[in-house]
């Protein structure tokens, strides 16, 4: 996926300015930036839910040439807070991931069922298929939504803050799973996140957005530098190199960066 010169505004408020991003098979890209920096908007533009100036192309084909259905077989999207109905069964939710493959009257193929079984197995949901959505935990629910995305058998996944409602253990599990998908199946993953450290630990590349502009785009080591992050987040930052590689970012909470100190 490549996008060039994306510019978008809600009314007069400009949200994206000349954004260029790319996403390649097998890589995990973290999309970082403060609230209101345009992360969610960028994802919606890449999916064609919002129309922005500039060009987005998936697999070297401009977005306009994709039908919704064809794109849904290649690109999956996990919303920030996916809509759910407590009465719905886990199996029913997973099935909807195959909607881009259904024929008229919603008729399914054998493949559809096999894919859903495999996804349920992989995410440890096989025993929950008959459960209602309001009977399972928040972490399990998030896995169901992820499963719906995987059922699409996508070549790329765009995730909007998938960690929001997860505890630490589930966050790490989710990131491990995404890594595995990228490595084993060559899935391209773009994940908007607030968590600098998790992103630093799991991403191959970081795209840093601020005020609708790409401030930095590169390997974790290059982007996750104290002066870059401090400028974007407006808080003093300290980057601690980890012995095994990677880095940990901590904001300075002692106020030593404050003009009042």
């Amino acid at each position: 996926m490549e996008a060039k010169g994306l510019t978008f505004a809600y009314g007069r408020r400009s949200v994206l300015r000349e954004v260029n991003v790319s996403l390649w098979p097998g890589e995990v890209v973290a999309l970082l930036g403060p609230n209101g920096s345009g992360k969610s908007t960028l994802i919606k533009v890449l999916l064609g839910h919002l129309h922005a100036a500039g060009q987005v192309s998936w697999e070297a084909k401009p977005l306009a040439e994709w039908t919704r259905r064809r794109l849904a077989r290649r690109v999956a999207y996990l919303a920030q807070s996916p809509a759910w109905d407590g009465e719905q069964r886990v199996g029913e939710v997973l099935r909807l991931g195959r909607a881009p493959y259904w024929t008229a009257f919603g008729i399914e193929s054998e493949t559809d069922i096999q894919v859903i079984r495999a996804v349920a197995e992989m995410l440890g949901l096989a025993n929950l298929l008959g459960r209602r959505m309001d009977e399972i935990s928040g972490g399990q629910r998030q896995r169901v939504f992820l499963g719906r995305c995987l059922a699409q058998q996508p070549a790329a996944m765009l995730l909007d803050e998938p960690n929001t409602f997860l505890d630490l253990k589930h966050q790490v599990e989710l990131c491990r799973l995404l890594r595995r998908l990228a490595k084993d199946d060559g899935v391209a993953v773009l994940m908007a996140s607030h968590d600098l450290n998790l992103a630093g630990a799991f991403a191959d590349r970081v795209v840093l957005l601020a005020d609708g502009k790409v401030v930095a785009d590169g390997p974790v080591r290059e982007v996750m530098r104290a002066e870059v992050l401090a400028g974007v987040y407006g808080v003093g930052m300290e980057v601690i190199e980890r012995p095994g590689g990677g880095a940990v970012v901590v904001p300075r909470v002692d106020g030593s960066d404050s003009p009042f100190s």
């Binding site: 919704r68 069964r89 029913e92 909807l96 909607a99 881009p100 919603g106 054998e110």
Partner: protein, 340 residues
């Protein structure tokens, strides 16, 4: 987990027909003189027309209800509460004016007249849709409760317009009594052409909606997620809204606005078969057909208690049953909160 194939579709429709058949058979056993039991041949002729007409109308309203609830993501939606039925009803009434009839004189065949009545009701439904949706939307969003509030007010205004016109023009040819246009009633003084026109329009519309039933399950998720799952959601909403309103109008043209069938049946169907619209749609249709036949039989049974040998319109029965159902649902939804 079972694959949803053609066999499942046929079985589900078959099961729905069976549900209808049982309820319809029970309705056939209820007579207006208060007698119960399987009718003799002559009585069967009369009663079966009631049952078939009620079934046709009930099926149409329930099917439309499923679609409105899905595309509006509103569990309280119903063709009657949205004001669509009353719009169709008012226009179906205007169609009876001699002036209108004169203009339509070119359509002198009975099927042409029947179709023009259908077209009139559909136009009324679409006018009501336009008014209700314009007034209820603010900045492109439809607030669920506001939508119903506007719908109910449109109902009231349409009812007043109707009463005013019927007062001013007393000599208008009425069919089924003036109340028919306020509270729906199953009519048997229809021409065969009217009955067939309605049956065809409802049948074709129903098939189109069944075709879309898979996408309706996805539509419930909301705009962004439905699009990400390959559904052209705006197009689906428009087609759903127009075809469901066509089916509603077609039923209302022959029966007047019968309330709550389209609200209750989708919920009962979901209780029976879950949330997958590929199942909910046919099952709700079968339930709608059967239950309206039963409700009509119930109103017929009350004839024994009345002096004149007449009986209350079936809309009275559905209102008495469906109203409390709506309130219970409203109470429950307010507890859990409607999204958006």
């Amino acid at each position: 987990m079972r694959r949803w194939g053609w066999g499942s579709l046929v079985l589900t429709i078959g099961g729905s027909v069976l549900v209808w058949a049982v309820l319809a058979a029970a309705s056939l056993c209820v007579g207006s003189s208060g007698d119960l039991g399987w009718p003799g041949r002559q009585v069967y002729e009369i009663r079966s027309e009631w049952v078939y007409m009620a079934s046709l109308v009930g099926a149409a309203l329930a099917a439309a209800g499923v679609v409105y609830q899905a595309i509006l993501r509103n569990p309280l939606a119903d063709p009657y509460l949205l004001g669509i039925s009353s719009g169709a009803s008012l226009f179906a009434y205007l169609w009876r004016f001699p002036v209108v009839a004169g203009v339509l004189g070119v359509l002198s065949t009975s099927s042409g007249r029947a179709l023009s009545q259908q077209a009139f009701a559909f136009a009324g439904a679409m006018v009501a849709v336009a008014v209700v949706f314009t007034l209820a939307s603010s900045r492109g969003r439809l607030e669920p409760i506001t939508l119903l509030l506007v719908g109910v007010i449109v109902n009231a205004v349409n009812g007043s317009i109707f009463l005013l016109i019927s007062e001013l023009a007393k000599d208008l040819p009425n069919s089924g009594g003036p109340m028919t246009f306020l509270v729906g009633r199953i009519q048997t003084n229809l021409t065969p052409a009217q009955e067939w026109a309605a049956a065809w329009v409802i049948g074709v519309g129903w098939a189109v909606l069944l075709y879309l039933s898979g996408e309706l399950s996805v539509a419930v998720l909301g705009t962004a997620e439905a699009e990400a799952l390959g559904v052209r959601i705006q197009r689906l909403r428009w087609i759903g809204l127009i075809v469901a309103s066509l089916v509603t109008a077609s039923a209302v043209a022959i029966s007047g606005p019968i309330g709550f069938v389209g609200l209750v049946c989708p919920h009962l169907a979901r209780l029976m078969v879950g949330t997958d619209h590929r199942k909910v749609f046919p099952v709700a249709t079968g339930l709608g057909a059967g239950l309206l036949a039963v409700a009509d039989a119930g109103s017929r049974f009350m004839a024994r208690e009345t002096m004149a040998g007449t009986w209350p319109a079936v809309g009275v029965v559905t209102g008495l049953v469906g109203g409390p159902f709506f309130l219970a649902l409203l109470w429950r939804t307010r507890l859990s909160g409607i999204e958006e």
